[in-house]
Symmetry: C2
Subunit: 267 residues, 2 copies
DNA sequence: CAGTGGTCTAGACCACTGG
DNA sequence: CAGTGGTCTAGACCACTGC
């Protein structure tokens, strides 16, 4: 800011924003203005001020609101867009990213068929095998930052592509943030789960960590994935995080890799 | 540029650069100036004007050289840095990224131990098992954009962590770009391969694609990785690319995942 | 202290979208 | 056509590094 006045938030119709400053004194941790703006936008996203799929205010509007230049807002949005939290569309506006869009339907699914491309096998078929409320084991509790014995929602489903069962998934969700979600609801829902979470519970999965191993198929796998016991399967354990970096889902997937492979790009 | 003169390259000590312009007429494909600058910097990298680890000219110097503003050069460098081709260090300069740095030693190796962190097991031990010149099979040729029967360098090695053999790797390199590399040289080299490629052959691996599957251990795996035949292993097939997006290495890795796992982050 | 990258502003104009 | 994001410039100052 230098010779310019500190950006300060005037009272508006919206809840007041924190006062922003460069804190030009000998601060131990210097934080650039655009990072603070990024934080403010993130707060609005967390608070649900703009919902997934909606358009956020224009760069100029935000610049006025935060009392900074358009360029500073722009840099903040740039980073949020790079993290896939926002989506810029030239000539239209900037939108809150969502899992409901067809294009990014399978952004978190890295399994592709040996021949053809992602989706060339037609739409995925999702069959819920089992769905119940249960208690978190120590392992599940650790992954979801819960206490052992806390209530969790548990589901098991099979994903089929081109008619063949390819993936078996066990899913654990903390019960609290998904209050009102019944086992029946889950069992009867056949769309992408992350889209359901967004629209019904204002829970958006933003980032995930996967641990991948090779394991032998068990009797359960034999039955549900139609592979012989002992057949090597890809075990993909995923913990998905929200805007707040809270773990919100544990998912253990078992992938058949005789006709598909897990694709990864190293940059 | 608008009312400013087109940026044009004057004759310098360096080879002349292409003339840059915004091509403001009704061009079918509009390319912003900073993208063109990015391309010019990339060309210099490809040509080896600045070698891995070296510092490139300052933003101001490049702005003068390309007849654009510092901000435009900055945006070009920003993208190259985001792609891990350049490395910015505040107060020092911008450097050509390299695999020789300790910090990014294992940027392409995503296997981590169940307990502890990457490198907590001490330095990796690399044992070359076999190393020879051979002919590209159809499969290898396809992956490396060669013709079947072209000469390739082939190596097999075992990586051990904490004394235990964890990874078996088969590596194929096209012979032409690595002219002068002998099987003996490879066999006696025990550092990170990508660092050797940079310093000795001006070949820098920039990006890689991996296909991951679960496969049963064979007799070879039993012998070299000390696992029972049939034990599920992670099969990681990697094709690594250079600045020019040419495939320069095919690597088939077999990972034990009983004590380690493949870690991946989904953004 | 000079030199580097990093931040911030202000203003102009371009490219794209939709009514 | 107005409104949006996208590009480009010029200039000022800040933060960090090493001599």
């Amino acid at each position: 800011m230098q010779t310019f006045p500190d950006p300060v938030i005037e009272s508006t119709l919206l809840p007041p924003e924190p006062i922003i400053s460069l804190a030009s004194s000998a601060t131990p941790a210097f934080s650039p203005l655009y990072q603070q703006i990024k934080g403010l936008i993130l707060n609005s996203l967390r608070a649900g001020e703009w919902k997934p799929g909606e358009m956020i205010p224009s760069e100029m509007d935000l610049a006025v609101r935060f009392h900074v230049s358009q360029g500073t807002v722009r840099k903040a949005i740039d980073e949020l867009a790079a993290e896939n939290l926002l989506l810029r569309r030239q000539g239209k506006g900037t939108f809150v990213a969502t899992h409901a869009e067809q294009q990014v339907q399978f952004r978190f699914l890295k399994l592709v068929p040996d021949s053809g491309t992602r989706g060339s096998e037609g739409p995925a078929q999702r069959d819920i095998i089992e769905c119940k409320r249960s208690r978190a084991t120590a392992e599940v509790a650790r992954a979801l930052a819960l206490r052992t014995g806390d209530t969790v929602l548990q589901a098991r489903r099979v994903l089929s592509f081109g008619g063949a069962p390819i993936i078996l998934e066990d899913i654990w969700l903390p019960a609290a943030p998904f209050k009102g979600l019944t086992a029946e609801q889950l069992a009867n829902y056949h769309g992408p789960m992350y889209a359901l979470f967004e629209t019904e519970f204002n829970v958006r999965m933003v980032r995930a960590e996967e641990k991948i191993r090779a394991i032998p198929a068990s009797a359960v796998h034999e039955q549900l994935l139609k592979v012989a016991q002992g057949t090597p399967l890809l075990s993909v354990e995923r913990v998905a995080y929200t805007y707040r970096d809270e773990p919100m889902e544990l998912r253990r997937g078992y992938y058949r890799t005789d006709t598909h492979y897990y694709q990864n790009t190293l940059g």
